[in-house]
Structures are given as C-alpha cells and as structure tokens.
C-alpha cells in the first residue's frame, strides 16, 4: 500500500538551487500582495532558504489497459469520495458528505444550538448523539457571566439531547476536580480517540484542521453550517485541489515541527493555500510523532488552507491503540494522483524561525531578531501547548540551568498534558518538566484551556492587557490576537520560546543546545 509519498511518474523534482527558486518564487509567491512590506521581506528571505516547487504537473490521466479509466486520487479526494458514496471525485466537485464527527465548543456551540433549534424546531433531535462532541475550552476560568452562561448552554443541550461526549466542567476553582473536563478541543479530540484515519470531521473552530494529522479530512466551519449538520449529519463541500509538501531529510536537533510550518506559511503566504488541501509527506514527516504532525496540520489554516493531511502510518496506529474502539479505514494518495503544486523542503537546511508581528507569514529567522527585546513568553494552545511542546521547552531550560529573564506563562492544552508535566521525566534529566519550570522561575502551569492565545475575557490568565512584546508558541499574531491591539506577538517553536525566555530577547535555541 502506498503510504508516504511516492513520486508521481509524471514528473520528478528535487532540491533546486537558489537561482531556480527565484524563478519559481517570482511567478508564484509574489503576485497576490506585492504592496505589503512583509511580502517584500519574505521575498528577500526566500533567497536564503532551500524551498522549491516542482514545475506544474501535467493533469493527464492514462487509460488503464482494461479500457476503463483509472482515476487516481489524493487522500483528501478519497476521503471525500468515500464520505459521499462516490467512486471517484475531482477537485472542484461539490458533494454532500456524511459527517463522522462534529465538534463544537463554548464559543460557537451556543450559536450553533440556537440555529439548530430555530431551523429544526425546539423539540428537534440531533442526527446522532454519539457523533457530536461538545468541548468547553475557550473561556472557562473567567468571572465573565456570559462566558459562564455559554458553558451552561452546552450542558443543558448535552442533557436534553443525551450527547455522549460532553467534556464538562462544573468546579472552576479546581479543574482537577472535574474528571470529565479535558481542555483545548483539538488536542482533546486526539487524546480521546475522536480523530480517526479516513473519516470526516468538522468543527466550529478554524484549527479543527489539526486532526488532518490522523489522515482524515478535518476543517473548520461556522455556526450555520454546524447547525445544519446537527440536524442532518451532512454538509455540502467543494473538493479542494491539493498542494503537496514533501519534507525531506533529517530534522536537526534544534528544529521543531513549528519551524517547518512557519517556513511553509512564510513561503506561500497567509492566503497561499486558500481553498486548497495541504498534504504533507516525505522522510521528515515519516519520522514525526503524532504531536509533530498535529502542529503542522494545525496551522495550515494560517496559510488559508481548507484541510491539512498526513497519511496514516504505524505512528498513527500506535497512537490510536487503546484510544478508540471505532473501526476506521485509512486511505492513501495514489502514486499518480494529481497535485496542483508540489513544494520540496530539505529540512536539514532550515533554521529556527519566528513569525513577526502582525502576520503568521511575516517570517524571519530567530537569530535575525536577536535584538528584539521581549516582555514575556507564552507556551500553550492547541498549536504549542501539547506534552512534547512543554518537554521541548523544558529541555532548553534544563540545558541552560539558568532562570528565565521575563515572565513565562505555561498553559497546558489539556488535563492530560498538565498531568504529563508532573509525571514524565524530561529526557536526559531526572526531573519532570514542572520541576524544571519551577527551578527556572516560570509561572506554575495553569488550568488547561485556550487561555490567552486568543485574548478572551479581560481576566484571562496571561492575556496581553498592555502593549507588550510576547514570544508565543501559539498560532496567530494578528493585531489584538492576545488582547491588546498594539501587543506584538512573535510566533515561535517551544525551543525558541524557551531560549527567548532565558535571555529576554528573541533567541535562536542553538545558543542553548
């Protein structure tokens, strides 16, 4: 079975030199928004990185010897074909898909419920009480009455509809007193076994694409579409064309998956994958953990992508062991499937990166920003608040043995992650991450939730209430994202975040490794 990414027979590609890159880049990357300063900076940066795309691939399909036409498909096309009971699909087709899982949370759930009731009736029942997952995670540890009410709305609905998976919290004074409470929805979905290869997952959150790491189709939708799914279990989707990203080579010890996705977003821009699927493959992807793959798929929406996907493999199956009893059926891209474009990266040549304010594609190397003085560091969110993210940060802190120079906030994504911080040992040490963080003077890991990644209510822990400069392992750095409009957010890997905490400046983690 074709797992990973066998090269199409219709073309070959490799790592090209910078001059070829320039030619390709000038036709593809620059056109949409020449006027923005970040674009021109990016353009300059492109000269220094080894990241190329292949020539446009012929779209021809050869008839099989039997006379029937073989229709090669990508993994995204195959999942959508299966979900719409079709033999074959091509990009651009509109199909009604059967939804395997719909996730909603406390921010969009109440509105979705409102639409469902308005359109299907006060007494209407959801299409499948076992396929709707309700995860309060955004605004939990706040005194904001409306935020608290919204969790109550979820609870009432879960009770009324007998929803099987509702990860409730009632005692907000101590999250540990709530065994059902998980935390950030995307990480909880993975940890609780709701992400399965070959399936279709929708969520009322743009980072639902996180689950593409499991070889499934997963994307974010609005309340109205979600309300429709509540009632029907179906949604009309357009089959996206696929961009393929081959990440080849061995990951240097100072790089993390976050650097790779920042590299890619910087390469194709914040709208470079709009309406498109982003498929990741190559030897570097094969070697990745599930959490690495999640970090990459999580941020495809920052390039405008519809879904990100990594083909399921033994790493996926191992992760799923014991997490789900639902049978699943992985699907894989055909060798001769058609891709809109292919990008090839030699990861061994990449450097630790940041996305500077105020756009995730405003890429620069961490070392080039070494004079940027920072006020704080934030490690958390669906993107950068998983167990391995904290392990990576702890590794840097342990290696230096120093104390952090700026306030360093730690927000585990889920209760499971929080527990890991107190039970697992950081490799190469006999200490837990929590012990290392405490020794380095970081804030104590707080209650799991989306936290200040998106600002939230004013009393949210670590929210940027003043125009401060923050290095963050989160996913967005638009103006006002973490609270204050003039706040400056540098998106970075957990390595870079921890290194920056140690110096008080944006810092390349190689200084400590």
């Amino acid at each position: 079975m074709a797992q990973g990414c066998a090269l199409s027979t219709t073309f070959t590609t490799g790592i090209m030199g910078p001059s070829q890159l320039l030619q390709r880049g000038s036709s593809a990357a620059v056109a949409p928004s020449m006027a923005s300063p970040s674009q021109s900076q990016k353009w300059n940066l492109s000269r220094n990185v080894v990241a190329v795309m292949a020539p446009p691939q012929p779209q021809q399909r050869s008839p099989a010897s039997t006379g029937s036409v073989k229709h090669a498909m990508t993994v995204t096309e195959k999942i959508l074909a299966k979900a719409s009971d079709k033999e074959r699909l091509s990009p651009g087709e509109n199909v009604w898909v059967n939804v395997d899982t719909l996730m909603t949370h406390d921010v969009c759930g109440p509105g979705t419920i409102g639409i469902f009731k308005r359109e299907f009736g006060e007494d209407a029942k959801v299409w499948d009480r076992e396929k709707i997952i309700l995860i309060p995670d955004h605004y939990i540890f706040t005194a904001d009455e409306r935020a608290n009410r919204n969790v109550d709305i979820l609870r009432d609905f879960a009770k009324e509809q007998n929803i099987k998976y509702f990860y409730d919290i009632t005692d907000k004074s101590d999250f540990k007193a709530n065994p059902d409470y998980k935390g950030v929805c995307h990480v909880a979905l993975a940890q609780e076994g709701h992400c399965r290869p070959g399936e279709v997952l929708f969520g009322t959150d743009s980072h639902t694409c996180n689950a593409g790491a499991f070889g499934q189709f997963a994307t974010g939708i609005g309340n109205t579409d979600a309300g429709f799914i509540f009632g029907t279990g179906k949604l009309l989707v357009k089959v996206p064309p696929t961009l393929r990203f081959r990440l080849e080579g061995e990951m240097p010890p100072y790089l993390l998956a976050k650097d790779l996705i920042l590299q890619i977003i910087g390469e194709i821009s914040v709208s470079g994958a709009t309406y498109k699927a982003m498929e990741f493959c190559g030897s570097a992807v094969d070697a990745m953990t599930m959490e690495d793959r999640m970090t990459i798929c999580n941020m495809i929406v920052e390039a405008g992508g519809k879904n990100g996907v990594v083909a399921a493999d033994k790493v996926t199956f191992q992760y799923l062991e014991g997490k789900t009893t639902v049978p699943y059926e992985p699907v894989y891209s055909d060798d001769s499937a058609s891709y809109l474009e292919e990008y090839v990266f030699d990861v061994s040549k990449l450097e630790p990166l940041v996305a500077k304010p105020h756009s995730p594609d405003n890429r620069d190397t961490a070392r080039a920003c070494k004079d940027v003085k920072i006020d704080r560091v934030y490690i958390g969110s669906c993107t950068g608040g998983k167990t391995e993210d904290f392990m990576a940060a702890a590794k840097i802190l342990a290696a230096s043995g120093d104390s952090v120079k700026v306030p360093t906030f730690l927000v585990p994504a889920t209760q499971k992650v929080w527990l890991d911080l107190y039970t697992l040992k950081v490799p190469g040490t006999d200490k837990t991450p929590a012990e290392i963080f405490a020794a380095a003077g970081c804030d104590t890991p707080t209650s799991p939730s989306c936290g200040a990644c998106l600002g939230g209510p004013r009393d949210t822990y670590a929210r940027l209430n003043e125009p401060k400069v923050c290095v963050s392992t989160t996913n967005r750095n638009f103006p006002g994202r973490m609270g204050h409009k003039e706040g400056q957010i540098y998106l970075a890997s957990p390595f870079t975040a921890a290194a920056s905490a140690l110096t008080g400046y944006v810092t390349d983690p190689r200084d400590f490794l």
Partner: protein, 266 residues
C-alpha cells in the same frame, strides 16, 4: 440621488460591455470555485439572474441593520417572492481597509461570548464590528452609535482570514454593512457570509482598495458587476457573485433551501 446613481451605473456598465465577455468567462470559473460551497444548492434554483429590471437603491447604514433579526434577515415568504429576480444594488458610504483583515480585527475574541442567534446579543455584536482595527483607520461606528454609517467595506487580499467565528460576518451584517468588496476572501469567512446571508462578499477584478477612500459614496451593483465610486468618479469591475447571490438574497442557506423547496417550509 437615487436616480442619478442609476444613470451613472448604466453608463458605466456600458463602458464595460466590451471586456465583459472575457471577464465573465474567467471570473465565472473562479467564482464557481469560491461559490462552490453553495453551487449544488442552486441547481434547482428558479430565479432570473439578470432579469431584474428594477434597480433597488437601498441606502444602507443606520436603520438598515434593523431589517435583520437573530442573525438572519427578517424576511417573510412574501418578501422572498418579491425579492426573487430582483437586482441587487447597494449604495452608501464605504470604509476602506487593506490586506489580511483577520477575524480578530473584525470582532475581537473578548466579544465572542455574545451568541449571534440571540436577537439582543446579535445587535450588540453589531455595535462592536471592526473594533479591532488599528485606530488610524478611523471609527467604523461612531461614538454612542450601534450601527455603522458605512454600507460597503472595501478591502484588499484575504479578507476575513483567521478564525472560523461566524460572529465576524454576523457582526458586520448586524452593524449595517451590506457588502464587502475585496480582492479575495479567506475561505471560511466567505462561506459564513453566504451561509448566514449577512452580507455580500464580492470580489473585485483588480486591486482597488487604494483607489477608494473611507467616506466616499459608492454603489455596488451586483447585476452589472461594478463598483462605482461617485466621489472619485471611478468605476471598478467586480467578479460576479454567481450562485451565492440568491442564497444571500434569501437570507442564508436555510432560507434559501426553504424558498427553493430543498427543505420543507416552516
């Protein structure tokens, strides 16, 4: 004023006829891609795309938002009949922004506790629309007001990027915005705009935001696919809104599906 606008629009359109066949063919393709989310819905649609002979000049802004409640335009079935096949021409002042206006600028996360399907909170969401924009762009909603005076938003590339919050198009619609003209949209914002029927997300053929200024009087003519800036005396071609138009006109996917018989009327 209305008469004058109509005349201007007709003249401008005439000057675009020469190039329109090419524009239309190309843009229909790309528009189909964007609109594809709702394309299948429209196969059974009974409406005349360009059949509307009457130009509706609607002065949007204060008061216009009052036509909507609960996140969907209040529209009885008889209203829907009347709207069928009508032209869509939106007239008013424009507010101009640049590239990559993300959902945190459209409606910052601290206001997401407001539930759009609750009528009073819908109105409140509208009063916070665009509050995350940098101060130098000026006030979108005047101090003490809950509605904007700008019926049209003009933007650059990738409008509405970021989160999937439906609060974004809802807040804009609730504030009184009727249409956005942008070079391109983030996928989920576009879809949410159509699904809710809150506003028309129209694509411009070219990059136009720097040729318009906040406060200019403009007309977005969706039948003739032009943006007319009366203050500057310029006309800009738009890509056809295509099959998304009737869905928005109906008030969103549910209203449209009922209107066209896809799902039972309430």
């Amino acid at each position: 004023m209305a008469l004058c606008t109509t005349t201007t629009s007709c003249i401008s359109v005439a000057s675009f006829v020469a190039s329109s066949s090419i524009i239309r063919r190309d843009s229909r393709t790309s528009c189909a891609a964007r609109v594809g989310n709702v394309q299948a819905l429209s196969s059974s649609a009974q409406y005349s795309k360009f059949g509307g002979s009457r130009l509706e000049i609607r002065l949007a802004g204060k008061g216009c938002g009052g036509q909507k409640t609960s996140g969907v335009r209040a529209m009885s079935s008889s209203d829907v009949e009347k709207e069928s096949g009508s032209s869509r021409v939106i007239h008013g002042q424009c507010f101009v922004v640049g590239d990559n206006i993300d959902t945190d600028q459209i409606i910052p996360a601290e206001y997401l506790t407001l539930v759009p399907s609750k009528p009073d909170e819908y109105e409140k969401l509208g009063s916070y629309a665009m509050i995350g924009l940098p101060a130098e762009l000026g006030r979108f909603i005047e101090e003490g007001e809950t509605k904007t005076k700008y019926a049209v938003m003009i933007a650059g590339d990738n409008f509405g990027c970021g989160s999937s919050r439906e609060h974004a198009p809802v807040a804009m619609g609730a504030s009184g915005v009727r249409a956005v003209v942008a070079e391109s949209y983030a996928r989920i914002f576009f879809r949410n705009s159509v699904a809710t029927g809150e506003l028309y997300p129209v694509e411009s053929e070219n990059r136009v935001f720097h040729e318009n200024s906040t406060g200019d009087t403009v007309t977005v003519d969706l039948d003739n696919n032009v943006l007319i800036n009366h203050t500057k005396g310029k006309t800009f071609p738009l890509k056809p809104i295509g099959d998304a138009g009737p869905v928005i006109e109906a008030g969103g996917i549910f209203a449209y599906a009922r209107k066209t018989g896809m799902i039972a009327a309430k």
